[in-house]
């Protein structure tokens, strides 16, 4: 029986060949679109910066050296590049806080929507999705309007008499975090909602029936079952936060740089394309490492979702 089927006929070989032919356009796009820019960036990071931007085709590891280290102008001593490191730390810190904030706000939101009657859920989802469809810049300026010194929040607090002087929120790290939280919250709510909608709520009842308090039901039953959604949401919020450019620019007022802004600076005013390229690859590496750690940690207890 095996010796008959193991030899592919001419017809089968033709089918396999045709499949590869049909796949070629898609594969070509994938290969060029995914690895092309990456290879260019990687190449640039090992070249010498040109005088007016661009690169000179001369091999150099200076860019990589400069990512975290710098040489003193006067006595040539090596030291850590404080500016880069603080921007790196700020990016990671704000992205983590944004992710945690998105979980805190997004989890109850998704749970609320998932427990509404089926007919009403679409309406609530629409309220989440409409801002998501709105232009990023407009959304960011809307948040800015809320928190600036003469904005809604401060005016309201002063009118009620809780504060006498406006709280300076805009152009601080808090402002960047609020901005990113608002912009990326739907990316947390959507996957969380998707896994909560599939949650069998008789399991929640079974938990209550077996003497579990509300908190125990949340921790022992709901959380483990919606973990895939929680992981997906966290990744979807953390990754773009880390590379965010527009929000830190607008909300941070150019004073609180994040990695995205630093990279842009090198390609623009800094005229140091190799350093910009090296920083980009660094950002990519951080994202990859974070993802690997996160998926490993989360995947330890395998959850068969049914």
């Amino acid at each position: 029986m095996a010796d008959v089927s193991e030899v592919p006929s001419a017809r089968e070989r033709a089918i396999v060949r045709n499949r590869w032919l049909l796949l070629t356009p898609a594969l070509a796009i994938l290969i060029f679109a995914a690895s092309g820019p990456l290879l260019i960036t990687l190449t640039y990071s090992f070249l010498t910066p040109g005088d007016y931007g661009g690169v000179e085709w001369k091999f150099s590891t200076d860019a990589w050296f400069n990512v975290i280290l710098q040489r003193d102008i006067f006595d040539d001593t090596l030291m850590f590049a404080d500016a880069h490191l603080s921007i790196l730390w700020r990016s990671v810190k704000l992205s983590l806080m944004t992710t945690i904030g998105a979980i805190i706000l997004g989890f109850p939101t998704a749970y609320f929507i998932a427990t509404r009657p089926k007919a009403h859920r679409d309406f609530w989802m629409l309220l989440i999705i409409i801002p998501f469809w709105t232009n990023l810049l407009i959304r960011t300026f809307a948040v800015m309007e809320l928190i600036r010194n003469e904005g809604t929040l401060n005016t309201l607090l002063m009118a009620v008499g809780i504060i006498d002087d406006p709280i300076q929120i805009l152009y601080t790290e808090t402002a960047i975090m609020i901005g990113m939280l608002y912009v990326y919250l739907p990316l947390m709510v959507l996957p969380l909602y998707a896994s909560m909608e599939r949650l069998d709520f008789s399991l929640v009842e079974a938990g209550y029936d077996l003497y579990a308090t509300r908190f125990a039901v949340l921790r022992r039953i709901i959380l483990p079952l919606v973990k895939p959604g929680l992981i997906a949401g966290s990744i979807l919020v953390f990754v773009p936060s880390l590379g965010a450019y527009v929000t830190p620019r607008v909300m941070g007022g150019g004073k609180q740089l994040m990695l995205g802004n630093l990279i842009e600076l090198q390609f623009g005013q800094g005229r140091n394309w190799p350093l910009g390229a090296a920083l980009s690859i660094t950002l990519l590496a951080i994202v990859m490492v974070a993802l690997i750690f996160y998926v490993r940690a989360a995947g330890k207890e395998e959850v068969p979702h049914g």
């Binding site: 008789s202 399991l203 009842e205 938990g207 209550y208 077996l210 003497y211 579990a212 039953i221 068969p304």
Partner: protein, 356 residues
């Protein structure tokens, strides 16, 4: 043990207001296998969920041994539920599922391990202890759900149509199994089903429900032999209904006149009235014979063979139809064929005069 007094549950408001439970009162006794039986939508599950605490009644009281249950949230009530869909936790193993309730009660580790082992032995699932619940069959899931609900040793076990998802053979086995578990553990079982056979074979007492209210409570034999009203007689088993004239009722004995004009004694349900009424006769309580001297005469319309017994469908002379069931024992061969004139007879005090 469980006192349910005048419990009502309304859903919606105004015109769409719907009474899922309509002034239900029932007392469930200690160590009893109590069944709530009725068609879907009759409120039996709502009543069960009221005891469990998932439904808050609009009116009435529910108490257990004198303690008001309605004041307690579901996780504080000394009752456990076997859910219709089992609701096993998919992220936990069989052992972890069974241990869940004990852990929530904060029992010591050693005691949990011991109780879980006992429970797994009780439902014969020891070999499957470390399987995920998705990796075991429906019947095994059923056993795990039972063990999980029994492990915290509740005073009352609530079972919401737990056998409906099983195939016929397995259901038969589980019926016997459930009855055994109830006897062994001494726990009160409140069992919800729409399957009359399940109700009759397992229960100590059955409450037949319709449209949110309990129509009759009694032992399976009471319910089957002495249905109080047409709905109960019709829902449980097969019944022939004959329009009769009740001339006199003395206690539980009624003198009735059949459509054929013949007089006979029948039993009267409490609350049955004189005048035009309905007589219920079970098909196996009547016998088929020659038309002469029979209580009622008619024409044999159909003969249906069932293996253990045969059903004879007779068109009575008054246009009503009547089914006689005869056991297919050796020597019990009725020599009739379709189209024959036949007579139907049943002894006195076999028919039941219904309430409505």
């Amino acid at each position: 043990m469980i006192e349910i007094r005048n419990v009502s549950k309304a859903y919606g408001a105004g015109k769409s207001r719907f009474l899922a439970l309509d002034d239900v009162s029932v007392t469930i006794r200690e160590n009893e296998f109590f069944t709530l039986l009725g068609p879907s939508g009759c409120g039996k599950t709502t009543l069960l969920r009221t005891i469990a605490g998932f439904v808050d009644p609009t009116d009435g009281s529910v108490s257990m041994n004198g303690e008001d249950l309605l004041k307690l949230p579901p996780h504080s009530r000394p009752v456990n539920t076997v859910f219709q869909s089992y609701a096993l936790f998919p992220h936990l193993t069989v052992r972890q599922n069974i241990a869940f309730g004990l852990e929530m009660l904060g029992k010591p580790k050693a005691e949990i391990t011991r109780t879980v082992d006992d429970m797994m032995a009780l439902v014969q699932m020891t070999a499957m202890a470390d399987r995920q619940t998705g990796q075991i069959s429906g019947g095994q899931q059923q056993r795990v759900a039972l063990a999980r609900a029994l492990a915290p040793k509740p005073k009352v076990l609530l079972l919401d149509e737990p056998l409906s998802a099983l195939d016929f053979k397995l259901r038969k086995d589980m019926q016997i199994e459930l009855k055994r578990l109830q006897t062994e553990t001494g726990i009160t079982f409140v069992f919800v089903t729409h399957d009359q056979e399940e109700a009759l074979t397992m229960s100590d007492r059955v409450a037949v429900m319709k449209a949110g209210s309990i129509r009759q409570i009694g032992s399976p034999r009471d319910i089957y032999d002495r249905p109080a009203e047409r709905f109960v007689a019709d829902f449980i088993g097969d019944t022939n209904f004959i329009p009769v004239e009740v001339s006199q009722i003395a206690g539980t004995v009624a003198q009735i006149k059949l459509p054929s004009g013949k007089m006979i004694e029948a039993r009267a349900v409490e609350g049955a009235t004189g005048g035009a009424s309905t007589l219920a006769v079970r098909p196996e309580h009547a016998t088929l014979g020659i038309a002469q001297d029979a209580l009622m005469a008619g024409t044999l319309k159909n003969i249906v063979y069932f293996g253990t017994d045969t059903h004879y469908h007779v068109d009575l002379d008054g246009a009503d139809s009547f089914v006689v069931r005869a056991q297919n024992t050796p020597g019990n061969k009725l020599d009739f064929s379709v189209g024959d004139a036949v007579g139907i007879t049943f002894p006195p005090q076999v028919g039941q005069v219904l309430r409505d």
